[in-house]
């Protein structure tokens, strides 16, 4: 998936990465750990759920070496995420912020639609 940088709009950014939207190709880009990866909307939502489902306390209290890293290999993507506990934390924060910002346009639209269309006559 190729998108011109001019068509990318920032959805949410933190110190560790960003989620961008391409309205031409209707896809999201995840900028994280020095790489930028495109995802179709469904695939991005799936990835977001995967990140949300990672149990941080389980990782922290598991003494085995396999708990040091979490591997996420999204379908239809060449990117493989090998995440340390702090990466998981950063990605969770990024995804939570992105989730809110992705839902915001819809919420605003609903509010605008709910507002009275004709001007109020006072007096």
């Amino acid at each position: 998936m190729l998108c011109g940088f001019a068509s990318l709009e920032e959805v949410f950014r933190t110190e560790f990465g960003a989620v961008l939207q391409c309205s031409n190709k209707n896809c999201y880009w995840l900028e994280f750990a020095g790489d930028c990866t495109p995802f179709k909307v469904t695939d991005f939502l799936h990835l977001r759920r995967k990140i949300e489902e990672i149990n941080l306390s389980e990782l922290l209290f598991d003494p085995s070496p396999r708990a040091d890293f979490t591997i996420i290999m999204p379908f239809r993507s060449q990117r493989c995420f090998v995440l340390s506990v702090s990466d998981v934390l950063n990605l969770k924060e990024l995804m939570q912020g992105a989730k809110f910002m992705m839902e915001l346009p819809g919420i605003i639209k609903d509010c605008l639609k709910a507002a009275p269309t004709s001007p109020l006559i006072i007096g």
């Binding site: 709009e9 959805v11 939207q21 309205s23 209707n26 896809c27 999201y28 909307v41 469904t42 939502l45 799936h46 992705m102 839902e103 346009p105 819809g106 639209k109």
Partner: protein, 175 residues
């Protein structure tokens, strides 16, 4: 900025999740009824075995109705993993008690969905689940009526044979 989320799906994420949870509940119900059918068949209760086999089919139908709705609205229906299906039962009566409990659980779940739909103002899904809520009246009525037969007819002697024979005749008429 284009609203990519709404272009993809009309379902709120919370509603999609709760509907997928319900797909799992219906699939679990179907599996339980199938197990009940097998148990009844094994114990010689032919009519009850047929009744539960029909119930299993019905529950699967409900599951597919929900499954298709999620996909039709742009969500992603999840084919559920079914575990913990009881295959043995204490008695003929306990099978029907479990069936009633299962139906009451399903009703409670649909009530939760209705509440959530109101909370997020998803009246389309609210309208969709009306059918299921109406269906639950019948499901609970039939299960309760059958249980009452255990007291009315009694289990002694040929009682259980008599109860089994009457199972297919229990129907619900809302009129």
């Amino acid at each position: 900025m284009k609203d990519l989320l709404r272009l993809k799906t009309s379902l709120n994420e919370e509603i999609e999740k709760i509907l997928n949870d319900q797909v799992k509940v219906e699939a679990h119900s179907s599996a339980i009824y199938l197990a009940m059918s097998s148990w009844c068949d094994d114990q010689g209760f032919d009519f009850s075995a047929g009744y539960f086999a029909k119930q299993a089919e019905e529950e699967r139908g409900h599951m597919l109705k929900l499954f298709n709705y999620i996909n039709d609205r742009g969500g992603k229906a999840i084919s559920p993993e079914i575990i913990n299906v009881p295959n043995d039962f204490e008695s003929f009566r306990s099978v029907f008690e479990t069936a009633l409990e299962q139906e009451m659980h399903v009703t409670a779940q649909f009530n939760n969905i209705a509440e959530k739909c109101f909370k997020v103002k998803d009246f389309v899904t609210f309208q969709f689940i009306q059918w299921f809520l109406a269906e639950q009246i019948e499901e609970e009525y039939v299960a309760r009526r059958i249980l009452e037969m255990f007291d009315v007819i009694g289990e002694e002697g040929t009682g259980r044979w008599e109860i089994d024979k009457h199972i297919p005749k229990v129907t619900y008429n809302a009129e």
